[in-house]
Subunit: 348 residues, 2 copies
Amino acid sequence: MDISTAYKDNNYKIHVAENILKSQLSEYTAQYDNVYYLIDEHVYGIYKNSKLSFIEAPLVVTGGESFKYASPLMHTMEELLAFGIKRNDLIVVIGGGATGDAGGFIASTILRGVDYIHVPTTLLAHDSAIGGKTAINSKHGKNLIGAFYRPKAVIYDLDFLKSLPSSEVLSGFGEVFKHAMIHSPELTEDLFQATKETIDLKTLTPFIIKGIETKMTIVIEDEHEKGSRKFLNLGHTLAHAIEYKYKIPHGQAVMLGIIASLYISNQVYQLEIALDYYVDYMKHHGYPVGLITDMDVDEMLELIKKDKKNHKSDYISYVLFKDENTLTVTDIKVSDLKMMLTKLKERI
Amino acid sequence: MDISTAYKDNNYKIHVAENILKSQLSEYTAQYDNVYYLIDEHVYGIYKNSKLSFIEAPLVVTGGESFKYASPLMHTMEELLAFGIKRNDLIVVIGGGATGDAGGFIASTILRGVDYIHVPTTLLAHDSAIGGKTAINSKHGKNLIGAFYRPKAVIYDLDFLKSLPSSEVLSGFGEVFKHAMIHSPELTEDLFQATKETIDLKTLTPFIIKGIETKMTIVIEDEHEKGSRKFLNLGHTLAHAIEYKYKIPHGQAVMLGIIASLYISNQVYQLEIALDYYVDYMKHHGYPVGLITDMDVDEMLELIKKDKKNHKSDYISYVLFKDENTLTVTDIKVSDLKMMLTKLKERI
């Protein structure tokens, strides 16, 4: 199915279906003088003789998160410039969230901006491909350098998901789960039921589409993250720190972060969200919940303080539920957060 | 005097006067939690005990064009992140055009964008500080990587110009001259008369302000360079190649480029602009007009082809006069351009 953005201008489509890459792309590429393909090396390795065999002379880029640093990024920029890229050429970025983040950043800055299309190849990228954020990493944290820059289209060919290792499915599912929670308690419960035993891609498709729509609604309302877009960071405050420290996939860390957010919501807003229901479910599916018990709270806090969403020193901006249907961003004193995370460690 | 932009939104002021830096800045800085100062090392060297003595703990950056590369840029980004820069902090960039370009690019990409104020310290920067273009250089040419990103204000304190070496005044004057030409034949003739003997900063002030206004009118009409903004590249096509090859200051190269543009306009549109009037004037003021005679046309063409303004292969987009009052962008065949530049070499 096609989902259209509803910004004031510069709208684009998100095409979601199986086996659509080649045909959808051709509807766009005809308008450009030249098309440059940036493809994650792992994805290209798997599909070069099948789905991606129609692509001549791709720029195969370092896989995953390792592409999101200044040095490989500049290398690819210089390659594109050496090929003589022009402002009315198109860049097609094929890969997961990291490839999309860095490829989008390249598109946003090369010649001060050329058009690009993102072709996400992971479940996790159903999240990062929506909303026009591009980014690379700093020594001091993830995604600290980037731009807001919209693609001309997102082509989400679900075929790519079939080759994902299970740890990647678990990771991407973290964001699907988060979007259901942001959407409503009802959708969350539906998802719980549909994935009680196993997380199966076929079952997930409607939830992926719902997740894209949920995210889309929010980012259109608040593109530059001044208000409601912050809700999308549900679970991400602790997740970024855990991910950085323990090098686990992003969406898996988000699931752990969600546990913390629920626990803190219960404390700050005197709610009674059934934490164990969530914890047991996550353990059942193999999320590394034990890392919460292992974490060094002071170390986590040092990392959390660097989060670019914080705007007051000594306070951490945290996305919480203030009741079961309503999210809010609450500034929590670092000392209070320390206390709560310490108790959570014991509680798990 | 204060010039206000007239975009649809996100407008800002350009304050132009002597000795205004400290007082004007204080009107802005109060709104921010933290202010980070990026200052060109040469400028800081000259003014640290006088005009800039009120600044505590500045980030002193590599001087001039050498700052506009990925490596020093990333170094400064990492420094800012190490200090814990937040989205509602302010970056103040003090330096010439290059410092402004790179400092603005840092502001546009760090945390996906923080506010910045540009304090230009050169005559040339009366040009680059207007229009919200930020940029760094690639191995393959100048300004090939960047963003469109508006500052919160430009504070142009004319005191800084007093310490400029004469080669820098000549360079900055190139853009003042270009803006007068874009404005009208009348203003151009006024400028000719006012600078017949010497180029004196006091005499220049009204022309600088007129130049800022001329540029402002154009960039507001066409921020993203789809139409009339291209006229601002008058003289720049050959200038970028000459500058790259002979390492002369930008505005000096622009003056040489203007000679080429006038010659080509005469050929393509059968005009009779008095080339010698311009050439003699430029020689009188010490512009290195002889480089036009020395240049290797094939080498220049190779560099010109990389210009990001070209959109068709085998054609070069050139800003020309089609009559004495009217500019136009004309696609010239590379072979025709070669012929004309070869004849120009002999003509000078």
